[in-house]
Subunit: 467 residues, 2 copies
C-alpha cells in the first residue's frame, strides 16, 4: 500500500513538472511571436513587393527566390528547392461584361476563371439561362440551353457558421459549371462569386473541363455578388436580355518551378519528419496575402520561433512552401512522391491555408489514439483562446502524405471574413492584422513543438518509440 | 426497482427533449440573425448618416431620435426615453503638433483627450520629459518637470492575449497623466495612444484632473504610436528639443440627454427584468461603429430576433441604449437609480461594448450557483464556436445593477483588432464585418433566451422561483 501511494505521488509530481514545462514553452513561443515575430514583415514583402504569384508567372519565380533567400538567413540545417513542372495560365487583358435592360447598358464586374478558355476576340453575346444547380440545368436540357449563356447563381449559405462549409456547398458551380453546361451546347458560363458579402469584387478560382471535347469547352467567368443580383433582377424583367462578355485568357505549356524547403535536422530521430507549410502560389487578382501568403510566412516563422525559443527538435522539422496549390496541386504531389521514394517517415504535417485571421484551433486527420493524444494537449492552449480541436480535413498540400499512423492537421483561423477576400482583388496586405497573423504562427509552433516532443503513436508493425 | 428504472428513463427523456428544444431555438436564432438580421443596416445609418455621437452633441441627439424611432417600428410593448443630464465637451478646431530636430520640422498627429483644457491660443511649446509610469515621474520630481511637457510613452504589452488586459495596463497614463504631471508644474501632457499597432491615428479617451486646482490643470493630448516612436527617437538625439502643440477644446454646461429604452413585457414574471444594452454615445473622431455602435444595434436586434423567432418571454426583456458611457457614465448611473427607486428586480443584464468582432463568449459577474448554471449551457453554444465562459467583468453600463443574486455579463468578441480602432478616426463602418456583427447578436439573443427561460438562482431571503 505504501509503495502504491509513493508511486502515485511520484507520477503526479512527474506529470505536474512535465505540464509546467510545456506551459512555459508555449508561453515563451507566444511571447516571442507577438513581440519578435517576422511573419508580418515577410508578408509585407510577398504581398506588396512581389504581389499575386500564379504558378508559372514571373512573380511566382520571385517568390521562390525571396523565400529561399529568407530561409537561408535563419541558420537552418538545410534549405533547398525541389523542382516541379507547373501549369501556366494567364488572364491577359482585363475582362469586360455588360447587359442591356430597359435601354440602359449595365456594366458588371467579371473575371475569367482559372483554366478557362478565352471568348472569341469580339467576345460572346447571348441570352442567359439562370440556374442554381446541375439538376436544374439537366432538367432544362439541350433544347433550352444550346446557344445560351448559363448563369449559375446559387449563393453561399449564410446560416452556416463555417464559411468553408458554405463554400463547399457552392463551389461545384465554379469548378464544373462549364463542363456541365458545355454538354448541352451552352456558349458561355457566368458563375456567382464565392463570396458571402454583397460587393463588386469578382472572385476567380480553378475550374475544369474534365475530358470534354475541345469544341464543347466554353469560356467561364465569375461575376461579383452585386453583379449577380443585378443580372438576376434584370432577368426577371426581361428573360430575353442579352449578356455580353469578353475575356482574353490563355493556357501555355507547363513551366519549371519549385517547392521551397527548409529543415532543422532532428538530433534524436532525424528520420522522423514533421512538416509545416503553406502554398507559395496565389491567384493573380490580389496579392495573395491571406491565400496563402499568411500560411507561407507563418510556416517560415515556425522554424524561426523554434530556434528563437531555444527548442532543439528531436525530430526533423521542415517548412515546405508548396507551389501550385491553386490550379494543379503539382507541388504537393511532387513532395509526397519524393518523400515516398526516399521512404521518409512523415509523422506529422501541418498546413496553414485558411487565411491569417485569429486562430481558433486545428482540424485533424488522425486515428483515434493519436487524436486522443492531441485532446490531452488542449488545456495547454486555453490561455491563448485556442479551443477548436476536431477531426476533419487538414489541407490540400499535406493531404497526399496521409498514412494510417501519422497525423495531418490544418490551422483553423476564424473564417468569417475569409471569403470576403478569397481569390479576389482585395486579398491584400492591409486586410491582414499583424497580431492575428502572429497568434496563428505561435499556435502552429506550439503544436509542432508538442508533436516533436511526444511523437505519434505507431500501430502494429511499427516499433513503439519511447522518448 | 421497476419504478426506479421507469423514473430514470422518464428523466432522461425529459432532459433530452428539453435540450433538444434549446438546441433548435438557438439554431433558429443564429439562422435568423445571419439571414435576416437588421443590426448591420442600423449600424450603417448610425455610422454613416449620423457619425460620432459624443454626449451633449447634436449627433448624440440624432442618435437618440433615430434609435427610438427604429425601436418603435419593432412592435415592442413599450419604448421610451429616460432623461439624464450629461457633460458636454467639444474638441473645436483640429489640433496641431510638431517638434524640431536637426533643423527639420516634424509634424505629428495628436488629439486632445476628452475633458482636457485647451492650450493657450498660441499653443504651448516646451522641452519634453519622457516617462513610462508615475513612479518615474515622481522620481524626477518638481525640479525636472516644472515648465516641461511630460510625454508618457509606455506601450501596450503586446504579449498579452487579451488586448483589454494590455489596455488596462496602460490607460492610467491617459486618464490620470495630466493630474499627476500637473502636481509637479508640467505645462502639458502628451500620451502615447492606446493602440497595439504602429500607425498614424491618435486615440482619444477620457481623462480627469481629479480635484486638482484650476491653475494646475494642464492640456493633455494623445499622440499616434508612430508619432510617439518618432518623438522618443528624436529625444535620444536631442534632450532639449522643443515640442509644440495647440488644442482648442472646451467644456460646456451639462445638457439634457436620454437613455433610449424598449421593452417586451414578460407574460409570466413581468417584474423580473432582463436587460441587454450598449452605449449610444461615442467619441467624436470616428463614427463610433465598433465603440459602441455595434453594441447598440446588436442589443436592439436581440429584441427583434426574440420576436422573429417566436419566443414569448416569461420575464420582461429590455433593450437599454445608455447615454454617456465614454465620459461620465451618467446614463448608466441614472438607469440604475431609477431601477432601484422602482424596486425593479434585474435578474440578468448583458452588455456589448467590446466591438462588433466575431464573438468568442462572455465574461460573467455571478455567484457560484448562477455561474454553474451558465456553465451547464456551454455545450449549447459549441456549434457556434462560442467557447469563452469565464468569471470577470461585465460592462461599465450594467455594472451599477449588480446584486448578490443577479448575473451580469459582457459579450466577449475577438479582441485582437479592437484597439486598432478604439476612440480613433478609423472606428468606422467599413471596419465592421456583417457576419461577425450578426454572430454577436445571435450569441447575445441565445443567452437572453436561456436566462429568460431558466431564470437565476435566488439566495436566502428570496423565494425560489419555480417555472
Amino acid at each position: 500500500m505504501k509503495t502504491r501511494i509513493v508511486t502515485i505521488i511520484l507520477c503526479c509530481f512527474t506529470a505536474f513538472n512535465f505540464a509546467q514545462n510545456d506551459e512555459s514553452v508555449l508561453k515563451e513561443v507566444y511571447k516571442t511571436s507577438l513581440t519578435n515575430g517576422k511573419s508580418y514583415e515577410w508578408l509585407e514583402h510577398l504581398s506588396n513587393e512581389i504581389g499575386g504569384r500564379l504558378s508559372g508567372s514571373k512573380n511566382a519565380e520571385l517568390a521562390v527566390q525571396y523565400t529561399k533567400a529568407e530561409l537561408e538567413k535563419l541558420g537552418l540545417d538545410k534549405v533547398w528547392l525541389q523542382p516541379v513542372m507547373v501549369p501556366k495560365w494567364e488572364r491577359g487583358e482585363k475582362e469586360k461584361a455588360f447587359f442591356e435592360i430597359a435601354g440602359f447598358v449595365k456594366e458588371v464586374n467579371i473575371c475569367a476563371l482559372g483554366g478557362s478558355v478565352a471568348t472569341a476576340k469580339d467576345g460572346v453575346s447571348a441570352e442567359v439561362v439562370e440556374v442554381h444547380d446541375f439538376e436544374e440545368l439537366a432538367a432544362l436540357g439541350k433544347e433550352k440551353i444550346e446557344g445560351k449563356i448559363v448563369f449559375y447563381n446559387r449563393p453561399m449559405q449564410a446560416d452556416l457558421i463555417s464559411t468553408f462549409n458554405a463554400y463547399g456547398g457552392c463551389v461545384n458551380q465554379r469548378y464544373a459549371g462549364a463542363m456541365e453546361a458545355g454538354k448541352y451546347g451552352a456558349v458561355g458560363v457566368i458563375v456567382r462569386s464565392m463570396n458571402l458579402r454583397q460587393d463588386d469584387y469578382p472572385h476567380t478560382g480553378s475550374m475544369s473541363y474534365g475530358d470534354l471535347p475541345i469544341n464543347q469547352r466554353i469560356p467561364s467567368a465569375a461575376i461579383s455578388t452585386n453583379g449577380a443580383e443585378k443580372l438576376s433582377e434584370a432577368l426577371k424583367q426581361n428573360k430575353e436580355l442579352k449578356f455580353y462578355f469578353k475575356q482574353n485568357c490563355k493556357q501555355f505549356e507547363d513551366v519549371q518551378s519549385y517547392n521551397v524547403i527548409g529543415e532543422i535536422t532532428g538530433h534524436k530521430f532525424p528520420n522522423e519528419y514533421i512538416i509545416v507549410g503553406g502554398h507559395l502560389d496565389s491567384w493573380d487578382l490580389g496579392d495573395g496575402a491571406h491565400d496563402d501568403g499568411a500560411g507561407v510566412v507563418q510556416s517560415m516563422d515556425v522554424l524561426r520561433l523554434l530556434k528563437k525559443s531555444g527548442i532543439k527538435p528531436k525530430r526533423t522539422i521542415r517548412v515546405v512552401l508548396f507551389m501550385n496549390e491553386e490550379n494543379g496541386l503539382r507541388g504537393a504531389t511532387k513532395y509526397a512522391e519524393v518523400a515516398k521514394a526516399k521512404n521518409e517517415n512523415h509523422i506529422f504535417a501541418l498546413e496553414s491555408d485558411a487565411g491569417g485571421f485569429t486562430p481558433r484551433g486545428f482540424s485533424f486527420a488522425a486515428n483515434s489514439t493519436n487524436f486522443d493524444q492531441v485532446l490531452g494537449w488542449k488545456d495547454l492552449f486555453k490561455p491563448y483562446l485556442i479551443h477548436y480541436f476536431e477531426l476533419g480535413g487538414s489541407g490540400a498540400d499535406v493531404g497526399p502524405l496521409k498514412t494510417d499512423t501519422n497525423v495531418l492537421a490544418g490551422l483553423r483561423p476564424d473564417s468569417q471574413r475569409y471569403f470576403d477576400h478569397h481569390h479576389a482583388a482585395n486579398d491584400t496586405f492591409e486586410h491582414v492584422n499583424k497580431r492575428e497573423l502572429e497568434l496563428g504562427t505561435a499556435t502552429m509552433t506550439a503544436l509542432v513543438y508538442l508533436f516533436d516532443k511526444y511523437g505519434v503513436n505507431p500501430i502494429s508493425g511499427t516499433k513503439k518509440i519511447k522518448d
